[in-house]
């Protein structure tokens, strides 16, 4: 697998061709370079996830996926973040924290909903959870899966970069 530097004896899981990852990685690297001058900073927020999405998100920076080489970084501060990566079904007790993080982010910003939970696919709306986070923050990109694999997350971040690019340079509009 050329993009990660791993030895060829570590094949990807079924249904995942090395070419897919390479192509997505190349596109992502190119887009982050042109759109954000080489970097996209990501703040993650868990709103009640089972923990599996967090496990996959952590692996984005592991040697297999190594998203730093693509110009992507996690940031502990929402003030430095371009992208809010949200997991979980939107527990109501997290509303304030999520909104605070979102409002602290500078524009242009983008929200990526990760997994089935924030899309309403696991828990419904009730006293405990919103069921989906779409009513809390404006979601730009959804990455379905339970949990979505790191490769799916990279595809989602690629789409997110496209949304940010639109906001910087709206098609046919002023900058």
């Amino acid at each position: 697998m050329t993009t990660s530097g791993r030895d060829p004896g570590s094949p990807l899981p079924p249904n995942t061709a090395n070419g897919d990852l390479d192509a997505a990685a190349d596109q992502l690297r190119e887009r982050s370079r042109t759109v954000l001058r080489r970097s996209l900073h990501i703040r993650t927020v868990d709103t009640g996830s089972c923990g599996a999405c967090e496990s996959e998100i952590r692996l984005l920076s592991s040697p297999y996926y190594d998203f730093h080489r693509l110009g992507l970084f996690f940031t502990p501060s929402p003030r430095h973040a371009d992208c809010l990566l949200v997991t979980g079904p939107g527990c109501r007790a997290m509303d304030h924290a999520v909104l605070s993080a979102y409002e602290a982010m500078p524009a242009p910003k983008v929200v990526v909903a990760v997994g089935a939970c924030p899309l309403g696919g696991v828990f419904g709306a009730d006293r405990y959870t919103r069921g989906a986070i779409t009513g809390l923050v404006p979601v730009d990109v959804v990455v379905p899966g339970c949990p979505p694999s790191p490769l799916a997350l990279i595809h989602g971040l690629l789409l997110a970069l496209g949304r940010i690019e639109e906001r910087i340079s709206p098609p046919g509009g002023e900058q």
Binding site: G48, G51, F74, C91, A101, F123
Partner: protein, 512 residues
């Protein structure tokens, strides 16, 4: 009749026959008798859970004890009074968390004027209704335990939003500078009411929720749920399906221990060790996907069996690679003084604390407490014959890491044994059809599994093909209680992520 007189065997305590000890024994008592019996049981059995359930006349309190020698469980049922005269946590300190839950769910105070902490509801819900109590009862802010930081100490807030890819929780670190004096944990942010959601659902849908209660313990929690349902409905499981479940349980244990190593590498600043552990973790997840169809082994366990067979060739080959990689990684980590020094003596849990707080899993075993349900052939049949329990005595982060390493070795040995045993694991296990429980009469069952974090328990009641009451007690729900004890044990700020990584708990498992 006392527990001591009968050598701690729950079946005799409950008046059952002695020839074949039941795995679950039930005892119904008047409320006034519970205190005495609990005082007798506490030294000889491990407190496992306490909850309330709706009964014909008001609420009923259920206490669950585990006999770690036989693997048997005892359930005590008694009426739940509005105010218990003496808090049970005086006799069973481990039960304090459950007392707090009883207040927030049903509005029942512990008694004796003992204040409660917030475990499910946020502090802003001071005067809201208890989550499940009928009528107009309201919670009172006067019952809350005080949260006081005085003198030269300050509370350093960390959370609920934390590092990248970390679950949300609030950790209030009380310090005067560098040394940790105390820690306040709050995990209500992620409470999803999973037990409440199960009521009225079919078993299949409730099992789906049991898996999502704690994704990094999906197999263990689903297995405990399925066993509770099978106990309630009198369903048997094919031997090959049972071994498939055990395989999945051990694969889950292995990847979690590897993930803990990766987290320890990050916490100690050992980037090379972290990266190598993450490579191994990804290999484990890919092995899960190849052998059993999902990186986190979701949707495998079902009531009465399993949904899929095993790709034995993939698993057999993967185990060799996994074992070699893991042994190499552990050897290198243990030869790195800067790594070992950070773990040694950090976050110590003594055996006495592990007993007092009824801890489970690797955290208890690292403190010298031998709790592992896999030891009991009565619980697991012949699957775990020859099983060797890992145990350390120091109780610190290094001891927990060593227990994890020994458990991975044992898991690989067991899996290799099962894979080569000739049991036809590759058959396509389909759901028992037609479902024998549809339209059935009310029934209840207790199920458990020794998950990667320790004993998971599920108490389940069903009627007419639907769940009428559910209580989930993942292992994480027991062990979070000990994190503040571990942090207070002469640690400094930078030890916090190390201690947390060595516990390797999930907030989701607590905030179900």
């Amino acid at each position: 009749m006392t527990a001591r007189e009968h050598d701690g065997t729950f079946g005799q305590l409950a008046g059952e026959g002695t020839e074949r000890q039941p795995l679950v024994s039930d005892l119904h008592l008047p409320a006034a008798a519970v205190g005495d019996l609990v005082a007798q049981l506490a030294p000889v059995a491990r407190f496992a859970d306490m909850f309330a359930r709706p009964a014909e006349e008001g609420l009923e309190r259920v206490l669950v004890f585990t006999d770690d020698q036989s693997g048997g469980h005892l359930r005590l049922f008694c009426p739940l009074e509005e105010k218990f005269p003496v808090p049970l946590s005086l006799l069973l300190p481990a039960a304090y968390q459950e007392e707090c839950e009883l207040y927030e769910l049903w509005g029942v105070e512990p008694g004796g004027g003992k204040p409660v902490n917030r475990v499910i509801l946020p502090p802003s819900a001071e005067t809201e209704k208890p989550l499940r109590a009928p009528g107009g009862k309201r919670l009172s802010s006067e019952v809350r335990a005080p949260h006081v930081v005085q003198g030269e100490a300050i509370e350093f807030p960390w959370g609920p939003i934390r590092g990248a890819g970390q679950e949300s929780l609030y950790l209030g670190l009380v310090t005067t500078g560098e040394e940790l004096l105390d820690a306040y944990l709050a995990m209500f942010h992620k409470h999803r009411g999973v037990e409440h959601r199960m009521v009225g659902q079919t078993l299949a849908r409730a099992l789906f929720l049991a898996e999502r209660c704690e994704g990094l313990g999906a197999v263990g929690n689903a297995l405990a749920f399925a066993r509770a349902a099978e106990a309630a409905l009198g369903l048997g499981v094919e031997p090959a399906a049972e071994v498939t479940r055990c395989l999945a349980l051990e694969l889950e244990r292995v990847y979690n221990h590897v993930a803990s190593l990766a987290a320890l590498g990050a916490a100690t600043g050992l980037s090379v060790g972290q990266s190598e552990a993450e490579i191994l973790l990804e290999d484990c997840l890919r092995l899960n996907a190849r052998a059993l169809g999902h990186r986190y082994l979701f949707n495998l366990v079902e009531v009465g069996g399993v949904r899929r067979g095993v790709d034995l060739a993939a698993l057999d080959a993967g185990l060799d690679r996994l074992e070699a990689g893991y042994e190499s990684l552990v050897a290198k980590l243990l030869a790195t003084n800067s790594y070992v020094d950070r773990l040694e003596g950090a976050g110590t849990i003594t055996g006495e604390v592990a007993h007092r707080l009824a801890l489970v899993g690797p955290v208890a075993r690292a403190a010298g407490v031998g709790t592992d349900l896999r030891r009991s052939p009565q619980v697991w049949g012949t699957s775990y014959v020859g099983f060797e329990q890992a145990r350390e005595r120091a109780g610190d982060c290094l001891a927990r890491m060593l227990v994890g390493a020994a458990e991975v070795r044992e898991s690989v040995r067991l899996m290799r044994h099962w894979v080569r045993s000739g049991i036809p694991l590759q058959d396509d296990w389909s759901a028992p059809a037609p479902s024998p429980w549809e339209g059935g009469s009310p029934a209840a069952g207790l199920g458990w599994a020794e998950t990667c974090r320790g004993e998971a328990l599920v108490h389940l009641e069903v009627a007419g093909g639907q769940v009428t009451f559910a209580r989930l007690r993942p292992a994480a729900a027991r062990n979070w209680r000990a994190l503040d004890d571990a942090l207070r044990a002469r640690n400094v700020f930078t030890d916090v992520p190390i201690v947390e990584a060595s516990f390797w708990l999930t907030v989701a498992g607590f905030a179900r």
